[in-house]
Symmetry: C2
Subunit: 370 residues, 2 copies
Amino acid sequence: MYGNTHHQFRLNEENGGRLVAINRPERVTQRMIAELAGVSQATVSLVLNGKTDSTTRIPDETRQRVLQVIRDTTYVADPAARRLAGVGNNLIGIFTYEHAFPNESSDFYTPLLTGIEGAAEQIGVDLLMFTSAPVIEGRRRLFHENNRLRLADGCLLLGREMDADELTRLVNSDYPFVAIGRRDAAEGRIPYVGVDYGAATASLARLAIDLGHKSFYYLHLPYDAESTRDRKDGLNSELAAAGLAVETAVTDGTNLAADWARVRRGQPTVLFVEDAGHAEALRNLAIADGVSVPEALSIIALGERTRPSEHTVDFTRLSAPREELGSRAVALLDQIMNGTGGSTGLPQQQLVSCTVIAGTTMAIPRVGSI
Amino acid sequence: MYGNTHHQFRLNEENGGRLVAINRPERVTQRMIAELAGVSQATVSLVLNGKTDSTTRIPDETRQRVLQVIRDTTYVADPAARRLAGVGNNLIGIFTYEHAFPNESSDFYTPLLTGIEGAAEQIGVDLLMFTSAPVIEGRRRLFHENNRLRLADGCLLLGREMDADELTRLVNSDYPFVAIGRRDAAEGRIPYVGVDYGAATASLARLAIDLGHKSFYYLHLPYDAESTRDRKDGLNSELAAAGLAVETAVTDGTNLAADWARVRRGQPTVLFVEDAGHAEALRNLAIADGVSVPEALSIIALGERTRPSEHTVDFTRLSAPREELGSRAVALLDQIMNGTGGSTGLPQQQLVSCTVIAGTTMAIPRVGSI
DNA sequence: CTGAAAGCGCTTACAG
DNA sequence: CTGAAAGCGCTTACAG
């Protein structure tokens, strides 16, 4: 693919007599830089990698000459070759199990990517999005015929659900990675930065209990993901401690009207909803049905919409610091790839706290309200 | 980095007597596969790359044996080595002059990235985001000390304003790239996929003229970007053709109340606003000021918010197909990098049409209305 | 101080 | 049909 075609260079007079590549140079290599600078290829590599330690000292004049040619040709070392020769590329991969960029309905990753981009810029790495892994049945496969994970020095894994076998295989492979979201696969050996949904959900449950609620209903997503389980566990354990029970149902959001009818039959005074979008729709259904919120029914969302402007209602809810999640994941991955750099290390598994937002959709329960 | 540590394999009895890697295998190579299957390393490569053409025929029995070992060891070829051996690295770079991922206030790139991701997936390339180029004074520099553009096979450029000198230098470097948005730098040699703002703005002007508007006001952004100029030109030429003038002012949105006061003194019957967010704010200011929209004042937005849910008002406006813009840019870049593949080539400079949305903020002008 | 050389893990003509 | 060998562009001991 990158043949041995000869490249031509000429002096560009409008540019202070610097060398400028013409005639579609296939790919500039260190050998060409070396020729142009009148040194050996190894010297170019040495200059490039700033080996200024006692053993290999290159005269400043030579160094400057080489650097100038590099600037003029906008040369960069071939990442694949560097990689093969055993050094890193300052490349962090991002593998998303679903499409990374939102369509109109879902916008799960955007805040994470915002945090990731900021952190990546800070530590000076580029981001490689593995879009070549095709999305099959709504999901990407980590290991497939033409796996390219190793183009990057390490990788961030994003997705609501991750395949436990793939995760185990990855953790056994010694390839540096960090999952975003708590993962309990591989006997707890997965490095992750997750959200403490359990604690925040428990706080919200406690709040409802303190207000006097006794009749709880929980509508959650049909996933087996840790994030779904943590919320469920947080709610259940807090209620169990108070001697209360909760009626639970699952919804994928395709028939919320039916879900609402079922909720109504259950006659709860407080409804916990995992998905913020569902919470909003259910509130509208309740009101349309003559059930006032929060007077007759409190509704609590265990998540929130991506951007404030999408919230027409100020729900009583938990708020996950998603940008922070992204930047902390980058920091942890950086540490795994490059070591702690002297300071005490970050824990391999981290949970960041949610904020509990009081909002306006929870009130003291009314008897026989629904 | 990937040492020569010896790997151990053992028969896993729970797995039908297949070979399974144990003890943190550093990295499985073709050489190991070859040893295990009792063939040469080259044969493994041949099997892997499915070279079944007349010259290189491998007996099915051998092939199956090799494939089985590959499955058992969960081997994948090192992409860096493949790439170095001459198979392309299938990497498209994305250089964004501003931060690629949105904060709460702006979300310029997201729809583009959605289109880019879809197209990248289709042609099987990964996406490299140049986040290592630091954002200085709100902008990234294309050419800086540690330019890493050549990490990718080619590159997409996104940003409202691009430096003409940088663009010229890039186009002279023979590095394949495509700008998103019309660019007239470098004597028209910049390959781009842009939006035809001029035509859509002219259509909207025509609409207003046909409704009987004679008093026009235009509030645009303080940029010298092509996108700003095209809209201005579209409006001006259409009005000039009808013998009408337009009062023009610039705003950066920081003091829209003052802008509104100025507009009001101008007493237009129709107000064109470049930025959709500003249009929305100005409409609110007008209404608060006792000026009904569109009865007393028509307002036309020359852009739109990123997502429908953010539109509280159905503005008369133009709508740019941003996802399409992203996917067409990928297609054009792919062509520039790899050739047309037989079919007739895509034009190097493309303009996609906007949709004109009638909306509810334009009406027949009332005399002495404002 | 700098060059020649080995080696990273692959692919692909080219010989057997 | 399959193996030995060259080469992709780098980095890094190791000799001069």
